[in-house]
Amino acid sequence: MSNDVIIEVRGLEKEFPGVRALKGVDFDIKRGTVHCVVGENGAGKSTFIKILTGAHRRTGGSLKFNGNDFDPKSIREAMNAGISVLYQELNVVDDLTTEENLTLGKEKSKFGFIQKSDGLGKMMDIIRSLDDSIELDMPVDILSVAQKQVIEIAKALSTDCSVLVMDEPTASLSEDEVRRLFLTVKKLKEQGITIIFISHKLSEIFEIGDYVTVFRDGEMTGTKSVPEIAGYEDALGCPDTFDDKTITDACTELVRLMIGKVIDQAYIASESDYSQKLLEVKNVSNHRLHDINFDLYKGEILGFYGLVGAGKTEVGRFLYGIDNYEGDIFVNGEKCDYKNVIGALEQGFAMVPEERRVDGIFGQLPIRANIPMMRMDSVLSSGLISRIKENKLADKFMKMMSVAAKDREQAVAFLSGGNQQKVVIAKCLNRDADIIMLDEPTRGVDVGAKEEIHDIIRGLANEGKSIIVFSSELPEITHLCDRIVLMYDGSIGEIVKNKKDIDIDHIMNIVAGG
């Protein structure tokens, strides 16, 4: 293992209007290693990657690549310098063949005719070495996701890249395909390529990683070698593979670095009525979930906690009638068989979706029109929309959520992220459902507003509503929830009851796969 540093990060800063995404980060990436980057959403790792690959410009600090200052203005510039990215959304064109995809955008051409690329042989060698079942003339749409990834890797490598960034490459792969990808990664490493590997599956780090950098809240909280994390003094005494126990412990350590000290915001015990079971989920499985069992009581706040990709959102999706599932859902003791969102709403569910821009807001409509959308009855008077009621409703919620807007006529698209989120929550609350699901309710919301949203959720529970919160912020979960469902890799690890001084270490252990 060479100690030669390929990327040197010093005091790197990135400021977006109103947000400091990176607050001065320092670390080194060594040549020819697999360097893992971990951190929760919003921790700053993707900002770092975007600066590295030319999608964003830094606002402070320095970044050195091969010893020279490096400030790429575009993705292409970074690519030409030798830094390529393997994006999470696959950037292959389904209706082109392998070969065509490999050469897309850098074809050699004469009079517009595509010539045989010189690099093709090399790319093919790369592909062969990674997956020998891919042929040049295969249309890409018959390939699996993993095979498509191989094509993208080959494409990146063909540009003489020395650093390959892999953004959650295993997110949509089957177990088998993950194995194969790891073999690929190892081969690449042998060829001297530096790999920056982003993953939410911490255990993977111990399989392929050499170093790991942890981000939290725009800061780097640690860069360590993998053996170090696993508890070995140095690489010499370290075995090639670790046993499960070691991995679990090490993962827990990583989670601790990612989450940091959990500020123990006082958990206020709820007035849950544990005699009244509102919802019961029995043996639910689908393509992402295995054997999910839990129940929810009246007036309870149930938290789902797990790292990104653990399957929290998927639980929300099947409950809300979006995804198919096998198994049973009982509401008030009766088995439900709704098949869509409308059915779920009628059954008494309501949800604040995770992606507000895509699934939540009606950007061109004013705030006033957004809020009643899930329950138009609330603004109808004798069947017609009453402007008075609508205004009243909007005012009520805008006050309750302290939405910062010019007035209620403002189009939601022009609001800040936090205020958009408040509008989405208001829209959902207005539904007045018995079971309210909130997926990442305070993501991108400033501290003050966060507190307000928490108070509202607590207030709702006290009114007798049952609430499910999906969150990847542990403080939020421990602050709010009465019971916490800990998820890991599509399964429920454990359901713990919240209390004043809850064992954070234990939680970390479970969500890390222990």
Binding site: V93, D95, L96, L104, E107, S144, V145, H287, R288
Partner: protein
């Protein structure tokens, strides 16, 4: 072994092949129901009659692969056809230019067709028009100009001797029109499969991000395609004038929708990203065979209109079902949700 077999017969599931089967089935049906249909001369006619659809369809297929429409092809065809005729018969009287030779006039109107394409392209790429609206506007303008050039009258005398050669004569027993069609099919299949333009068109419609990250400039491609389609409409205009052996400003009415339907039947969805020239050719032939066969069966014209609608809807439903199935198999192969 099993896998190999699967691959070998994969073409059986190709939409284009299924389309071809539908085409064959139609032919068999008509051949069995009427003795007047299954004749070589009839097929020659049908190819001739679908020439313009195929030629313009080649460009339109490319445009649709990038999610764009061109509704101005019909009036573009009429305008170029009438200007071509005007130039070879009268020249440019205002400038004292004598009647032009066929080739010169041809080149001029192909440039005019391309200019219409440039206007379409500018409106779409530069001013952000929906392609539907931009080309609809150009459709009206082109049609009006075509009529205005000749005051609404046809030109039907004073043609040079070989005016009708391209549209009617044969060389070595093959009609010139066939040569044009085959040339168009070959050229555009090559463009599709072998050139940057074809590949990048597919890429733009198939995955915008991939195209972007690969440094492809979509505006340039779309602009080029509008120009090509405009020029093709002009070629079709010249051929139409030659085939009719007179200049008719009313020609090509409704042509844009015929082309659209042919391209759609050929398996190029409005959402772009895929499509084949051969599919469009089969689509055009299906339209022509259907009209011809139903005529031969002496089916009332109005029923034919009804059938046209049913087949259009049926074909698109079928296409979308096949796409869905394909997507399902991909999802089941163990990928993301």
């Amino acid at each position: 072994m099993n896998k190999l077999n699967k691959e070998r017969f994969a073409f059986l599931k190709q939409p284009t092949f299924i389309l071809f089967l539908v085409f064959v089935a139609l032919n068999v049906f008509f051949a069995l129901s009427t003795p007047r249909f299954f004749k070589l001369s009839n097929y020659m006619n049908m190819v001739k009659q679908s020439t313009m659809i195929m030629i313009v369809g080649c460009g339109a297929t490319f445009l649709m692969m990038t999610e764009h429409l061109d509704l101005s092809v019909g009036s573009n065809l009429a305008l170029t056809s009438i200007i071509y005729t005007f130039l070879v018969v009268f020249g440019i009287p205002g400038l004292g230019i004598a009647p032009l030779p066929l080739l010169t006039a041809g080149i001029i109107v192909i440039i005019i067709g391309a200019v219409i394409g440039v206007l379409n392209g500018l409106l779409v790429t530069k001013f952000g028009f929906e392609s539907f609206i931009a080309t609809l506007g150009m459709m009206y303008i082109g049609r009006g100009l075509a009529l205005a050039v000749v005051g609404g009258n046809s030109i039907r005398s004073g043609f040079p001797e070989n005016f009708g050669v391209l549209g009617n004569d044969k060389v070595l027993g093959i009609p010139y029109l066939f040569i044009f069609v085959i040339a168009a099919i070959v050229i555009f299949t090559v463009l599709h499969k072998k050139t940057l333009l074809g590949k990048h068109s597919v890429a733009i419609g198939g995955n915008k991000n991939a195209a972007f990250f690969s440094g492809i400039n979509p505006k340039k491609i779309v602009m080029t395609l509008y120009i090509i389609t405009g020029a093709l409409a002009a070629v079709a205009g010249i051929l139409t004038a030659s085939r009719l052996e007179h200049g008719d400003p009313r020609t090509g009415t409704g042509f844009e929708f015929t082309v659209l339907v042919a391209v759609l039947l050929g398996g190029t969805p409005l959402s772009g990203g895929k499509g084949t020239i051969i599919g469009t050719v089969i689509g055009a032939m299906i339209i022509t065979v259907l009209g011809n066969g139903l005529n031969a069966m002496d089916i009332l014209k109005f029923w034919q209109i009804v059938f046209k609608g049913i087949i259009l809807i049926g074909a698109i439903v079928l296409h979308s079902q096949m796409r869905e199935k394909r997507r399902m198999t991909v999802v089941n192969a163990g990928t993301r949700s």
